[in-house]
């Protein structure tokens, strides 16, 4: 990210050549272009960042209409915690349950798909990603059409968990499959097996240590998505099963702007740490690792000589096509 293109040394050489006048003729144009880019960048920063700052301030001021002069207070935050703590807790439960189910189902599936070079495996992979290629509204209507009449299930948080799992599973599968495909697991496992390691031993000493960064990236994505999911959740929720974003919509629609803002602050406070960790690890919004996974991942491999000497592909950054191919729309909207 910090890599800069080298300064155009060619220019200084070219300046002594006959073509030099042509180049300098473009200087003003380049200057204006640069100025325009800088202005657009500032405008974009204002557009994206100012409202965030405004909503944080609004949640902390005594009276937003009168402005900051009315003083700062934590009253609105307390009011939100009093009114909506149930929905915040519900969201945390839902995210935890979703993560547990997605880990249990998606992790083995991602590994199995990456280890299977068959056409059927690619087909299954394509199919599993479908829920994020379709708008959440369609999936929610479909789930309601089949399971809406089971009232015990319908009125529990599990109904929402099911929707979230359907929606987040593809991210875990893709993330794990991409990292498993970028490491030559087959060779590593054959080495381990030739030394007598059983399937379970290989899982713990070869597969999991190698796939760990992908699992972590997938898990962070799943939790972030689940905490912010609205499209599905709004259709699936009942008055007893409100999640954080559902409460947000409720607060925006029916409460004063300070309460809505204070609730937004709470949402920021819960998701920002996750986002910061994701950015530090280099996880992009699709749940893929952008940079090379941390070195420690390889040091933990049970078979160091095999991993470091005989397998050059371990060192290449994820050149798997899946890692750079955004196949799905943004699920949060």
């Amino acid at each position: 990210m910090d890599r800069l293109p080298p300064q155009p040394s060619v220019l200084s050489v070219a300046a002594t050549r006959p073509g030099a006048r042509k180049i300098s003729a473009h200087q003003p144009l380049r200057f204006w272009l640069l100025l325009m880019q800088a202005l657009l960048t500032c405008l974009l920063c204002a557009f994206l960042i100012v409202p965030m700052v405004m909503s944080i301030l609004a949640g902390l001021t005594v009276n937003y209409f009168r402005g900051l002069a009315s003083g700062l207070t934590l009253r609105w935050i307390e009011a939100v915690l009093g009114t909506y703590s149930d929905s915040v807790l519900a969201s945390l439960y839902v995210a935890a349950a979703t993560l547990a189910i997605v880990l249990a189902t998606g992790m083995p599936a991602g590994y199995a798909l990456a280890r299977s070079p068959t056409r059927l495996a690619r087909l299954i992979e394509e199919m599993l990603v479908l829920p994020i290629a379709l708008p959440g509204l369609a999936s929610a209507l479909a789930i309601l059409a089949v399971y809406g009449s089971f009232s015990g299930f319908r009125n529990s948080l599990w109904f929402i968990v099911v929707g979230h799992v359907v929606f987040t599973l593809p991210f875990m599968v893709r993330s794990v499959a991409a990292i498993c495909a970028s490491v030559d697991l087959r060779t590593l496992e054959e080495g381990a097996a030739s030394l007598g390691a059983s399937f379970c031993q290989r899982c713990y000493t070869v597969v999991l240590p190698n796939a760990w960064p992908g699992v972590l990236a997938g898990a962070l994505t799943v939790v972030t998505l689940s905490l912010g999911e609205f499209n599905l959740t709004w259709m699936l929720h009942t008055p007893d099963t409100k999640t954080l974003p559902v409460g947000l919509a409720d607060a925006y629609a029916s409460m004063r702007i300070e309460i809505g803002s204070a609730y937004t602050i709470i949402f920021f406070a819960i998701t920002m740490p996750l986002l910061i960790v994701m950015q530090m690890l280099g996880v992009d919004p699709g749940g893929n690792l952008q940079r090379k996974p941390a070195r420690t991942a390889r040091r933990d491999v049970g078979l160091p000589p095999l991993a470091s000497n005989s397998n050059p592909t371990v060192d290449t950054p994820g050149n798997d096509k899946r890692a750079t191919n955004p196949t799905a729309q943004d699920p949060l909207r």
Partner: protein, 274 residues
């Protein structure tokens, strides 16, 4: 291919949980939704929805809005993305991090951000009131929706542009410059072709997301007729499950087709570049 360390038995065992869940809670429900949308006589149901003026208008408005958002997003993101990749200044990392935070905002929060900017007590309203004596409030209209969709589309496309632009070979541009190409020619002949696969994919995602976005429209106004809002109204207010099913499947087919098309276009290009 025979794989000694990973027999078929284990493959089946590992894939079954995910597939079972998927079949049970997505495939089966979607099949049921298709069945409902048919309502016994498929052709006439779909025809009556597709020839209905209101639904058609809603579909066209949604497509037009999404196309406009996609074009504007691409233009703005390419300019800013290239600027951020090429120019170092203090605090750039933090700035980039801040610019990408909106990626994790739900649609409702994006809607609220637009209200903060252009709502009744918004910043733009206050500024224009002070400057021109006229208060601009456009959050609760199509323009507000446009701003909201830009708000969540731009960060994603900027991430893509920055990743792709970081891989550009600066020597190509230097060569073009030394041969006398002006900045527009460099942009047209070198930078844009190199970014094209990434931009195509990003445009498709941007379009599909805008088509299906529900939370933003829900927060801003319930009477803007974009397709997701129409589906929602049909389902909740009119309790018309058949129409809601037809429209949501239609929406799903459009977004899926656009994404699949972009993937076919860029899949080959990406493979060639790799």
């Amino acid at each position: 291919m025979h794989d000694l360390t990973f027999p078929l038995r284990w493959r089946v065992v590992l894939l079954t949980p995910a597939l079972a869940f998927f079949a049970c809670f997505w495939l089966l429900p979607i099949a049921r939704l298709m069945q409902i949308s048919g309502d016994g006589h498929v052709v006439s149901t779909y025809l009556s929805v597709l020839t209905n003026r209101r639904y058609l208008d809603s579909l066209l408005a949604t497509v037009a809005l999404s196309v406009a958002v996609t074009l504007c997003t691409l233009l703005w993101s390419v300019m800013v993305g290239l600027f951020l990749v090429r120019h170092a200044f203090p605090g750039r990392r933090v700035l980039v991090a801040l610019l990408t935070f909106p990626l994790a905002f739900p649609g409702v929060v994006v809607g609220f951000m637009v209200i903060m900017l252009a709502g009744r007590q918004g910043l733009i309203g206050a500024l224009t009131l002070a400057l021109t004596g006229d208060k601009w409030v456009f959050a609760y209209s199509m323009a507000g929706l446009f701003a909201g969709y830009l708000y969540f589309s731009i960060p994603r496309v900027i991430v893509t542009v920055m990743a792709a632009a970081g891989k550009l070979d600066p020597a190509l541009e230097e060569a073009a410059r030394s041969l006398g190409a002006n900045p527009w020619q460099i942009m047209r002949d070198i930078v844009l072709p190199a970014l094209a696969p990434a931009l195509t994919a990003a445009a498709a995602v941007c379009f599909a997301t805008s088509m299906g976005a529900f939370g933003t429209a829900f927060t801003l106004a319930t009477d803007i007729d974009v397709l997701p809002m129409t589906i929602y109204t049909e389902f909740t207010l009119n309790a018309d499950m058949v129409t809601a099913a037809v429209l949501s499947l239609l929406l799903g087919v459009v977004t899926w087709a656009v994404l699949a098309l972009a993937r076919n276009l860029t899949g080959q290009a990406a493979a060639a570049a790799a």
